[in-house]
Structures are given as structure tokens and as C-alpha cells.
């Protein structure tokens, strides 16, 4: 690795047109479903709802370098809703962190591609997550360390809306504004579903934007599948240095892109059967 390589030049493939980003996201949706089918279990619904956001982050916003996953000045992403890792795995492999063939070992004994993300086994994973409610606290600590060391890296945390039922999330919402962490960007993947049903029925967490604003977060609400809107929201968040952490409430569709999975909580944690996979891949071709 040559020391001259600089921050701003991530080595990931860089689709320049918005159309390309959409194509890339569609291809990664196919990867997500294929890897979960191969594994025989996994979480398609919440993976499909965050893939567009991850695509914008890794190909438009984040300063990262797959050849130097431990580069100290990289932007960090903590996937607090760790069960959606098939989406992150698809992104990291396409970006060049590890070979795409490894995706098909998801959930198999000895695989670095664990059922939930494991930072010690797979390059590009910043924190091992999956026990819900913890990711934002960890991301906060990363942002605090950056602030203390006067670093310019940004930290992104992706949370589920069902996950917000965990009390630790609210401890983190309460505490991040105290430290003025304006390089911290939290994104709630508001897909409205969780294992036992719709979030509104299991344990309502709304109205989210009002709650975050009252906690002192710079908050916007967007369509999490509108690439331009996602990019605009994240861009404006990372450019603002108003001494407040940023919250993006991304309204998404669980199972987005596959007609029979969309907004059906049954697809939270279930692998498609062969005919279902074929039908889904056809829709995504």
C-alpha cells in the first residue's frame, strides 16, 4: 500500500450516474436473496429496505478504502440492525472488501460471513452487532473519539424502527446531543415491520421525527428509496457543523423490490424457497 494514497479516493467501483446506482442496488438485491436462499435462513425484509441507503452511502458519501479497511481516517458505519447484514455483505463484496463468492457461504460453519456481522472475522465490519439497541451507543463512542482527536471522519449508524423499542437507544438519543457530535449521522430504517408484526401494533414508536427533534437532533424525514433524496439528506448532514448530531428518518418498504415480500412482516426472517427465489430474481432482472 503506498502511503501517498489519500482519503478521498475510495477504490470501490464508482458508478457515476444515478441510473447506475439503481442498477447496482438491483443487482445487490439479487445477491441478498440468493445468499439467503443458499443459507436457508436469514432476514430478507430488512435487508431489502436498507440496500438503497447503503448504496448511496458507500458509492456517494463515505470516505473509505477497501484495500485499507483499518485506515484510521475512514468514515465508519455501524449496522445496529445487524440482522440486515446480507445487505451490508452485498455492498462490501461489491466494493471490494472480500470476494463475492464468499457471499454464498453465509451462515455456514467457519464462514467469515456470519449470521450477524462479526468485525473480527470480516474486513469492513466496524462493530459486531445483532443484539439490538446497541449500535448507536457504539457509533457515538467512535464519534466522540474522533472529536477528542480532532479527526474529520464521520460515523454513520443504521437503526431499525422496531429496534427503537430497546431502551438503550433512548439513552443514546438523550446523550449524543450533550456532546455536540455533529459528525454522527443516525439513519432509522423505518420499514414498519418486525418479527411479530407491524411496529405500530407490536409497540408503537411514532411519531419519530418529533421525538428526535425534542431530544435535540437535527432531524429530516425522507423516502429511503429515493436515491436523490437520500444523497441530499446525508450530504447536508455531513456538511453541517452546527454542533448537533443528525437523524435521518428514512421511510422505507420492508422487502422493497419484491412484490410478494413488500410490507409483509412474514418476510422479516424467512428464506425464500426455490420457486420464490426464481420469481423474485425475475422481478429484479
Amino acid at each position: 500500500m503506498s502511503p501517498e494514497r489519500t482519503a478521498a479516493a475510495p477504490a470501490a467501483e464508482k458508478p457515476q450516474e444515478r441510473e447506475d446506482l439503481k442498477t447496482l442496488a438491483r443487482e445487490m438485491r439479487r445477491d441478498i436473496l440468493t445468499m439467503i436462499y443458499e443459507a436457508g435462513s436469514g432476514h430478507p425484509g430488512g435487508s431489502l429496505s436498507i440496500i438503497d441507503i447503503l448504496t448511496v452511502l458507500y458509492w456517494r458519501v463515505m470516505r473509505h478504502d477497501p484495500e485499507r479497511p483499518d485506515w484510521p481516517d475512514r468514515d465508519r458505519l455501524v449496522l445496529s440492525k445487524g440482522h440486515a447484514c446480507p445487505a451490508l455483505y452485498a455492498v462490501l463484496s461489491r466494493a471490494g472488501y472480500f470476494p463475492r463468492e464468499q457471499l454464498w457461504t453465509l451462515r455456514k460453519l467457519g464462514s467469515p460471513v456470519q449470521g450477524h456481522p462479526d468485525r473480527l472475522r470480516l474486513p469492513g465490519i466496524e462493530a459486531s452487532t445483532g443484539s439490538l439497541g446497541q449500535g448507536l451507543s457504539i457509533a457515538m463512542g467512535m464519534a466522540l473519539a474522533g472529536m477528542m482527536d480532532r479527526k474529520s471522519y464521520r460515523v454513520f449508524a443504521i437503526l431499525g424502527d422496531g429496534e427503537l423499542q430497546e431502551g438503550q437507544c433512548w439513552e443514546a438519543f438523550m446523550s449524543a446531543p450533550k456532546f455536540g457530535l455533529d459528525r454522527l449521522v443516525a439513519i432509522v430504517d423505518s420499514n414498519g415491520g418486525q418479527i411479530d408484526g407491524h411496529v405500530r401494533d407490536v409497540m408503537n414508536v411514532e411519531p419519530l421525527p418529533e421525538k428526535f427533534r425534542s431530544f435535540g437532533w437535527d432531524t429530516v424525514e425522507i423516502d429511503g428509496h429515493d436515491f436523490a433524496a437520500v444523497e441530499r439528506a446525508i450530504d447536508s448532514a455531513v456538511k453541517s457543523a452546527a454542533g448537533r448530531p443528525h437523524m435521518i428518518v428514512a421511510r422505507t418498504v420492508k422487502g422493497k423490490g419484491v412484490s410478494f415480500m413488500e410490507d409483509d412482516p412474514a418476510w422479516h426472517g424467512k428464506a425464500p424457497k426455490k420457486d420464490e427465489l426464481e420469481k423474485a430474481l425475475k422481478e429484479l432482472s
Binding site: 451507543s137 457504539i138 466522540l144 439513552e171 446523550s175 456532546f179
Partner: protein, 316 residues
């Protein structure tokens, strides 16, 4: 002789070591007056974080700090900190982050505040986490050296400290060695087989030494080993003790399940030592009272230790 509480020695040590460990960050959850971090907070305010009464968030924030090169030292009462077991399991243990958990006011020794403030299951919980080192120093000298070792060590550590003052049990030449139990009382004539070797740790070391002195005055011989590292445990010390003693006695200001008594028993069983192990520890949630009264009531006082050393002993 009359010493300090180990929490006080800890508070002094982090101030003394602050310049040597510039990445150290001290974190509190509204108990800094009790955990003795205020001197550090005053002198190194930029490296002190007050997280409020929200321990699970503090654990996660600490893990994030550690993932970016800091050495977070987070303090609270032993029960409130280790009570957040799931964040500790994942953010500290499974992520293998360089987090230092400091639990003060361990055991019945907190006294009058009563059961809800007593860390009595913390060692059992922390021992079950792969990679966690558990230290419980018995006096100020050991605490200072243990804190230094903890900061030099790359990986999670749980440091268990007392509210109450403890007599010094180490001499001026004392050297802390992680993973090694050290002898803090030796009978005058240790050549013959001992009636017992007593393993104690932290706040129980003074009780154990008092018991050993009492035994000596009555013509019996017992040695006291200070188990300053509770995990990983010094199995060799157990083997050595078994060779020279008729029985092993353990005493802990902690539940009798999962702590020092379990560690010694596991070592004895693993090496098939065939020696009786008498385990003294708390079997309840505790209650309000003076520490000495509580030790008496819950069966871990020096009198109980004497009894455990002599009860049904096959005297020569």
C-alpha cells in the same frame, strides 16, 4: 498498616497514570463522587465523560471509543455496571474491545445501603465472558499496580473494588503479577502439613488473615493466599496448596456460586486433587447493616473462616 479503600487507591492511580496513558478516558454514570474519579475529572476534564444514569449506553460508548484507539475506564457500582450484562457481552466481550470496567462498592462491604446496591453476582457474570480478565486487589499497593497492568493490557478487564478501607497486606517489595495468587499470611512453622490454605480476595483478605492468626494462637496452622486475579485463575497455586494442606477454604464477599469458591473448586476437580474444598460465600441478596455485622450474619466473617478450617478436621 491502616490502609485505604481500594476505590481510593484507584482514584489516585488514574491521576498518577494519566500522562503515561494519554489515550485513557474516564467515564462515569453519576457516581463519580463514590467511584473516586473526581480528581481525574477535575485535572483532565477533556478526558472525562459524564454519561448520566444510563449505564448500558455508557458501555456501548466505551466500546466505540476503544474501537477508535481510546482506553475507556468506566466506573459505577459493581452491581449497576455488570448488571448491564448484554451490552458488556456483545460490545465489550464479543467485539473484544479494550474496555476497562471498574465496579466499586463490591459485596456486603457497602453496608447500610443494603441489598439493591450490593454487587454480589458480578464476578460470576464476568467470569462467563471469554477473554475477560477479573482483578480484585486487596490493598492500595496492589490496586495501584493492578490499575497500571490493566491500562497496559490490550483487552477487556473487570476491576472489582471496595467501598470500605482495607489494611495493607503487602510489603514494600510487593510486585503485582496478573494471574498469580500471592501469599499474604504464612504460619510461623510452615514446614509441617497445614490444616488449611485459605483463598481470599479483596475485602475478605483482612478477615482471612485475622482467622489465620486466631488459628495460630490456638495451635493450628493455616496459610492465606490472596487471589488478586479471579480470572484467569491461578491453578498452580491450588495444586501447591493441595500438596501442603489438609483442606482448602475459600471466602468471598460475593455469591458462593460462580466466584472464587467455584474457581478453586474447578481447579481442584480438574486436577483430581482429591482435597476437600470448603466454600464460604453469600447465599442471599444481602441487607442493610454494618459490614462486620453482615459478614457475621451471612457467614463470611473471620469466625466462620476459623470454623471452616477446623470443622470435622482429621486432626493428627
Amino acid at each position: 498498616m491502616a490502609g485505604a479503600a481500594t476505590r481510593e487507591a484507584f482514584g489516585e492511580a488514574i491521576v498518577e497514570l494519566a500522562d503515561q496513558f494519554p489515550h485513557m478516558v474516564v467515564m462515569d454514570a453519576d457516581l463519580s463522587k463514590s467511584t473516586m474519579t473526581q480528581a481525574f475529572a477535575k485535572k483532565f476534564s477533556a478526558r472525562h465523560l459524564e454519561l448520566g444514569i444510563a449505564e448500558q449506553n455508557m458501555v456501548g460508548v466505551g466500546a466505540g471509543l476503544a474501537l477508535c484507539g481510546k482506553i475507556p475506564v468506566m466506573t459505577s457500582f459493581a452491581c449497576f455496571l455488570t448488571g448491564r450484562l448484554e451490552p458488556i457481552r456483545i460490545a465489550v466481550g464479543y467485539n473484544r474491545t479494550n474496555v476497562k470496567l471498574v465496579g466499586t462498592h463490591a459485596g456486603l462491604g457497602i453496608g447500610e445501603d443494603g441489598a439493591s446496591q450490593m454487587g454480589l453476582e458480578d464476578v460470576a457474570a464476568m467470569r462467563a465472558l471469554p477473554g475477560m480478565v477479573i482483578l480484585q486487589p486487596a490493598d492500595a499497593a496492589e490496586t495501584r499496580q493492578a490499575v497500571r497492568w490493566m491500562l497496559e493490557h490490550e483487552g477487556p478487564v473487570y476491576l472489582r473494588l471496595t467501598r470500605q478501607k482495607l489494611d495493607d497486606c503487602h510489603g514494600p517489595d510487593y510486585q503485582f503479577r496478573m494471574g498469580r495468587a500471592d501469599e499474604v499470611f504464612k504460619p510461623k512453622d510452615a514446614s509441617a502439613r497445614l490444616q488449611a490454605t485459605i483463598f481470599a480476595s479483596g475485602g475478605m483478605v483482612p478477615e482471612a488473615i485475622r482467622a489465620a492468626r486466631e488459628l495460630e494462637s490456638r495451635g493450628f496452622k493455616a496459610r492465606v493466599m490472596n487471589a488478586g486475579t479471579l480470572h484467569p485463575f491461578d491453578g498452580e497455586a491450588v495444586v501447591r496448596a493441595a500438596k501442603t494442606s489438609q483442606r482448602l477454604v475459600t471466602v468471598e464477599d460475593h455469591n458462593v456460586v460462580g466466584g472464587l469458591g467455584s474457581a478453586v473448586s474447578e481447579c481442584a476437580a480438574k486436577d483430581a486433587l482429591g482435597i476437600p474444598v470448603v466454600t464460604l460465600g453469600v447465599r442471599a441478596f444481602g441487607e442493610s447493616g454494618l459490614p462486620a455485622e453482615l459478614y457475621e450474619k451471612f457467614g463470611i466473617s473471620s469466625a466462620h473462616i476459623v470454623d471452616a478450617c477446623l470443622r470435622n478436621l482429621d486432626l493428627p
